[in-house]
C-alpha cells in the first residue's frame, strides 16, 4: 500500500493539541463539597502512581483521537501499490525494443500494449499535483512527454509508443528519467516497464531516485507462466553463385527455435511483388537450437531490369501465408536484396574519356548504357525512370538527375550547383579528403594534372584540392550526390596509377549500396523512414501490410513514422521530373531480439534489483471508506456527548 498524499499524515499532529485540551484546558464545573481533604489525599495517591495521570482517557477523547487519526489517514489517500503520491512525479520508462511486440497468443495484448495499459492506469490515477512523464527506451532514450498532469498529452505520448529497433538503451533512459526527477518532490519515482528480453545486466544509476522495475513479458517470474514459443529467422542473405550466371543465387538463412519444445517449420522463399515460390524447405528444430539453411534459387530480373527483393517467411505448414502463430511475428519474415541488386546500371552520357569508360567496363557488376543528353530528353514521360549511376562527360544538364551522378571535365560555366573556373595549366595537388569513402585507399600526391578548371561554389565540397582550386568536388543532395572531376583524366597521369581504378570502384560501390538499399537510409524495425526528397515534395509510402502513409519533405528529408513490420516499404516521391520509386527493406535478423525470454538482470549500486510482474492495476483508494468512518465516529461522539449530558 502506498500513501498518495503522505504529507497529509501531518494532520495526525492534531492529536497533540486535542490531548492537551483534555489535559490542560478541560472545562470544569465548580462544586462545593463538605471537605476536600480526602480528595486531596486520593489525588496525591494517583499522582504518586503515575506522573501523567492528568490525561483521562474518556470515551469522547478516544473517539476524537480516532477521528483525527482516520481523517489524517483518509487525507493521506492510502491506495494500492503503484499509486502516485500527491505532488510526486512518475517517470514511466517503457522498453520499446522489438521484443516488446511479442504476444503470448493470438488475440492477446502484446507486451508493449500491456505496458501502455499500465501507463494509462497510472495516468488516470494521478492525484492532484501529481505529474507523469513518458520516456521511450529504444536505441536512444526519447522523452515523449515531459512531466505533466495533462491526460491528453500523456495519452498521446503513450499512443506514440511503438516497438522499434534492435537496440535498447535502458540505462540511458533510466538515467534521463533520474536526471529529470533530480529536483522532483518526495515520492517521485521511476517505473521501468520492460520484458527483460535481453542478455546481460542493466545498472540502474538513478542517483537516489527510487526506481521500480516491472516485467511485462510472460516470463515474468510468476507461477504457471506460459513458456516462450518463438521460432525466428536470425540471419539471411542472398549471394550470386559464382560461375553459374547472374540469375543463379544461393539464399542463406539461420533459423532458431527459442521454445522449450522442438518445432517443425517451413521456410519459404519468394520474390517480393511476384507470385510463385522460389524455394521451400521443411525444418525440424530442436528446442533452443538453430539450423543453417542454404537454398539455391533462380532470381530472374523483372521486365524493367530492376533488382528483385527476396522474401523469406516461416510458417507452421507449407502454406506460407498461414504464418507461425508464435510469440513474435516480426522475426518470421525477412527481406534481403537479391544478388541482382548489385548490378548497377551506369548511363554514360556523352563522349567519356577512354580511361573512364574503360574502368567502368572493367566492373562486372556494371551494366553500361551509352547515351546522350538529347536522347535522354526525348524519352517518353510514361517511360520507367532510369535508376542507376549517370556519368556525364562534357555536356551537363541543367538539373541533376535523382540518385548519384558523376561529371567528368564539364564544359560551360556551371555543373549543376557548382561553378567552374577558368582553365589553369599544371595545377599541383596539395590535399585530398582521405576520410571520404570515395578516396578510400586513394592517394593523390603522385597525380599530375595537365589542365584543370577549378570547382567552386558554396554547394561544392572539395575532395581533392590543388594550388589552383578544387580538382574533385562533391555536391550532396537529399536524393543523391554528384562527384565532379574538373579535369580530363586522360590528360593526366592518374589513369596509369592504381588509385584511379580504386577511386572509380569506390564511386560505383557507393552508388551500388545506395541503390541496393532501395534508396532509403537503412534502419531498424519500426524506425521512421527517412526519405530524401526536395523540400515540399510529397511522399507516399506503402507498408508491407498495404497501409498507405503520406508525408511532406522538410529540409530535404521526408520522415515517415511506420510501425514495426518486416518487409518492403515502397515509397513514391513526387518530383517535378516525375515520380521516383524508392524502397526500404526492414528485417529483424537479431537473435537477441528474437529471444523474447526474460533474462536481463537489474542491479543498483552493485546489488540486484528485483523485478515484479506488471499488470494494469485498478485504481483503488481507501479514503472514502475512512472518511465514512470519520463521519460515523462523529455521530457516535455526538450521541455519547448527549448521553453524557443526560446523565449529568
Amino acid at each position: 500500500m502506498t500513501w498518495l498524499s503522505p504529507w497529509s499524515l501531518l494532520w495526525l499532529g492534531l492529536t497533540v493539541p486535542l490531548v492537551l485540551l483534555y489535559v490542560l484546558k478541560r472545562r470544569r464545573v465548580d462544586r462545593v463539597i463538605g471537605s476536600t481533604l480526602l480528595w486531596e489525599a486520593a489525588l496525591r495517591d494517583l499522582r504518586a502512581e503515575r506522573p501523567w495521570k492528568r490525561l483521562i482517557p474518556t470515551v469522547a477523547l478516544l473517539l476524537q483521537l480516532l477521528a483525527i487519526v482516520l481523517g489524517a489517514l483518509a487525507l493521506a489517500r492510502p491506495a494500492g501499490a503503484g499509486g502516485v503520491p500527491t505532488g510526486a512525479t512518475i517517470a514511466l520508462v517503457v522498453d520499446v525494443s522489438t521484443s516488446m511486440d511479442a504476444r503470448s497468443g493470438e488475440g492477446d495484448d502484446s507486451r508493449l500494449e500491456r505496458a501502455v495499459s499500465v501507463g494509462r492506469e497510472l495516468a488516470r490515477a494521478l492525484p492532484p499535483g501529481g505529474r507523469m512523464m513518458v520516456i521511450a527506451a529504444g536505441a536512444e532514450a526519447t522523452l515523449l512527454a515531459p512531466p505533466t498532469a495533462d491526460g491528453a498529452t500523456l495519452s498521446r505520448a503513450l499512443d506514440a509508443l511503438a516497438a522499434s529497433g534492435t537496440a535498447t538503451d535502458l540505462e540511458g533512459a533510466v538515467a534521463l528519467a533520474a536526471e529529470r526527477l533530480r529536483s522532483a518532490p518526495s515520492g517521485s519515482r521511476i517505473l521501468l516497464l520492460t520484458d527483460g528480453a535481453e542478455d546481460g545486466e542493466v545498472s540502474l544509476d538513478t542517483r537516489g531516485v527510487p526506481v521500480e522495475v516491472q516485467l511485462v513479458g510472460p516470463e515474468a517470474p510468476a507461477e504457471g507462466a506460459a513458456p516462450t514459443d518463438n521460432v525466428g529467422i536470425v540471419e539471411a542473405d542472398a549471394r550470386a553463385r559464382v560461375g553459374e550466371g547472374p540469375d543463379r543465387a544461393d539464399l542463406f538463412a539461420r533459423i532458431r527455435n527459442f521454445a522449450r519444445e522442438p518445432a517443425d517449420v517451413f521456410l519459404t522463399a519468394t520474390l517480393e511483388g511476384r507470385d510463385g515460390v522460389l524455394a521451400s524447405r521443411r525444418l525440424t528444430l530442436e528446442a533452443d537450437a538453430s539450423v543453417p539453411v542454404v537454398m539455391a534459387v533462380d532470381l530472374p530480373p523483372d521486365a524493367s531490369g530492376r533488382a528483385a527483393v527476396v522474401r523469406l517467411a516461416l510458417s507452421r505448414s507449407d502454406a506460407a501465408h498461414e504464418g507461425m502463430q508464435d510469440d513474435l511475428a516480426l522475426d518470421d519474415v525477412a527481406v534481403v536484396p537479391s544478388p541482382g541488386a548489385r548490378r548497377l546500371p551506369v548511363f554514360l552520357v556523352g563522349a567519356a574519356p577512354a580511361p573512364v569508360e574503360r574502368v567502368l567496363r572493367a566492373d562486372t557488376n556494371v551494366e553500361l548504357f551509352a547515351t546522350t543528353l538529347q536522347a535522354l530528353s526525348e524519352r517518353d514521360d510514361d517511360a520507367p525512370p532510369l535508376d542507376g549511376l549517370f556519368v556525364y562527360a562534357g555536356e551537363v544538364p541543367d538539373r541533376a538527375p535523382p540518385g548519384d551522378s558523376v561529371v567528368v571535365a564539364p564544359r560551360g560555366e556551371r555543373a549543376f550547383e557548382a561553378e567552374l573556373g577558368a582553365e589553369v595549366e599544371a595545377p599541383r595537388v596539395i590535399a585530398w579528403e582521405e576520410s571520404d569513402p570515395r578516396l578510400r585507399f586513394v592517394t593523390m600526391g603522385d597525380v599530375h594534372l595537365a589542365r584543370l578548371r577549378p570547382i567552386g561554389g558554396s554547394a561544392a565540397r572539395a575532395l581533392v584540392t590543388t594550388d589552383a582550386g578544387a580538382a574533385i568536388a562533391s555536391i550532396t543532395r537529399p536524393d543523391g550526390e554528384t562527384t565532379i572531376l574538373g579535369f580530363d583524366p586522360s590528360t593526366s597521369d592518374w589513369p596509369r596509377q592504381p588509385t584511379f581504378v580504386v577511386f572509380f570502384r569506390n564511386l560505383l560501390e557507393r552508388a551500388r549500396e545506395r541503390r541496393a538499399s532501395g534508396g532509403v537510409a537503412a534502419g531498424g524495425l519500426g524506425d521512421a523512414l527517412r526519405i530524401a526528397a526536395p523540400d515540399g515534395a510529397s511522399v507516399e509510402v506503402i507498408t508491407p501490410s498495404g497501409e498507405r502513409l503520406d508525408a511532406t519533405s522538410r529540409g530535404g528529408l521526408a520522415i515517415v513514422p511506420v510501425r514495426a513490420e518486416a518487409g518492403v516499404f515502397r515509397a513514391t516521391v513526387d518530383l517535378p521530373s516525375g515520380p521516383r520509386e524508392l524502397h526500404a527493406l526492414r528485417s529483424l535478423l537479431d537473435a537477441n531480439e528474437s529471444d523474447v525470454r526474460a533474462r536481463l538482470r537489474f542491479s543498483r549500486a552493485g546489488e540486484d534489483v528485483g523485478a515484479a510482474p506488471a499488470a494494469p492495476r485498478e485504481h483503488r483508494e481507501s479514503w472514502p471508506w475512512l472518511a465514512a468512518l470519520v463521519l460515523l465516529l462523529f455521530a457516535i461522539e455526538a450521541w455519547w456527548a448527549s448521553r453524557k449530558g443526560a446523565v449529568a
Binding site: A42, L43, A648
Partner: protein, 288 residues
C-alpha cells in the same frame, strides 16, 4: 416536641442506655457508679482505718483475721455528666440529609436517653472553637431545652476539634462521657484532641457521621471541588480510577478511625449514610 424526636422513636429509645466504660465522680447521687467510694451496697475496696472514719464501715471479719482495723469502702452511685460535643462546622451542612441534621437527631436521642437515665446532659457545639454551649442539666423534663438548643444550631465555619477540646477543658468541666458527633474531617486531625480528653479523665465516644455520596461518589464529570470550610479548590475528573482511589482513601480513613477507637478502648459508631440513627444507637448499646 421538636421534629428531632417523634413518639415512635422515643419508644424505641427506651431500650437504649448510655454506655460508660469508665467510672466518674458525680456531684449528686445517681444511677452511675462513681469513682468515689460511697455508701451504696456494692463494695469497692478496703483501706486501713484512720481516725475520723465512720466506724460503721470497719470490716470486723478482717479485723478478726488480721487484727488490724480495715475499713470497707463502697462504690458511690452518682449521676453522670454527658457532653454532646457536636460538630457544627460547614462540612456538616452537606449530605442528603445533611450530616448536621443526622448529628442533631442523634444528639437529641442521646440526650433523651441520658436525661431519662438521670444523667446530666450538656450540649457543646463546636466548629473552629466552642459555640454556645448548653450547661449540663438533669431530668427528663429538660429534654425540651436540649432540643431547642439543638434546633438552633447551624453548620458554618471551619473544624478545629483541638481548639474545641482545649476550650472545653479550660472550663474545668467535670470528667464525663463526651459524645463526639462529627464527620472527623478536621485538617488538624482528631486523635490528639480525643487523647487530650482521655487524659483529662473524660470518656470520648465517637459517633462518626457520614454521607453516602461522601463514601461512594458517582463517577462522571469534571469538577472543581471547593472545600466548604477552607475554600480550597481541587480539580477532579471523576473517572473510574480517580473514584477508586478516593474510595480507597475513604476506606483507610474509616478503618483508621475505627482502629484508633479500638486502641484507646473507645466506642466507635458510624451514623448517616446507610446507617440509620436507630441502628447507630443500637450498635452503641450493643457495645455494652
Amino acid at each position: 416536641m421538636s421534629s428531632l424526636l417523634d413518639p415512635e422513636f422515643l419508644r424505641r429509645l427506651a431500650r437504649v442506655r448510655l454506655l460508660v466504660r469508665r467510672r466518674f465522680a458525680g456531684s449528686a447521687g445517681g444511677a452511675r457508679r462513681s469513682t468515689r467510694k460511697g455508701q451504696s451496697v456494692e463494695m469497692a475496696d478496703h483501706r486501713p482505718y484512720s481516725p475520723g472514719d465512720d466506724v460503721r464501715r470497719i470490716d470486723w471479719n478482717a479485723y478478726a483475721r488480721l487484727e488490724e482495723l480495715i475499713l470497707r469502702l463502697y462504690v458511690a452511685e452518682e449521676d453522670l455528666v454527658v457532653y454532646l460535643l457536636l460538630d457544627t462546622s460547614a462540612s456538616m451542612g452537606f449530605g442528603d440529609p445533611p450530616k448536621l441534621d443526622v448529628a442533631k437527631r442523634l444528639a437529641a436521642a442521646l440526650a433523651y436517653v441520658g436525661l431519662s437515665g438521670s444523667e446530666r446532659v450538656g450540649v457543646v457545639p463546636f466548629g473552629a472553637g466552642i459555640g454556645t454551649p448548653m450547661q449540663p442539666t438533669r431530668g427528663r423534663r429538660r429534654i425540651g431545652t436540649v432540643l431547642k438548643h439543638l434546633d438552633a444550631l447551624e453548620a458554618r465555619g471551619e473544624t478545629d476539634l483541638q481548639r474545641a477540646v482545649d476550650e472545653l477543658i479550660a472550663r474545668r468541666t467535670r470528667p464525663g462521657l463526651v459524645l463526639v458527633l462529627s464527620d472527623l474531617l478536621d485538617p488538624g486531625g482528631y486523635q490528639r484532641s480525643l487523647d487530650r480528653l482521655i487524659a483529662e479523665r473524660h470518656e470520648p465516644v465517637i459517633f462518626h457521621v457520614l454521607d453516602r455520596e461522601e463514601l461512594d461518589p458517582t463517577p462522571g464529570g469534571d469538577f472543581n471541588f471547593v472545600d466548604s470550610e477552607r475554600g480550597a479548590r481541587v480539580e477532579v475528573s471523576l473517572d473510574q480510577r480517580t473514584v477508586d482511589a478516593y474510595r480507597r482513601r475513604v476506606q483507610l480513613f474509616l478503618e483508621g478511625a475505627e482502629a484508633y477507637a479500638k486502641k484507646r478502648g473507645l466506642s466507635y459508631v458510624r451514623a448517616g449514610a446507610d446507617v440509620s440513627i436507630e441502628d447507630a444507637l443500637l450498635a452503641y448499646s450493643r457495645a455494652a
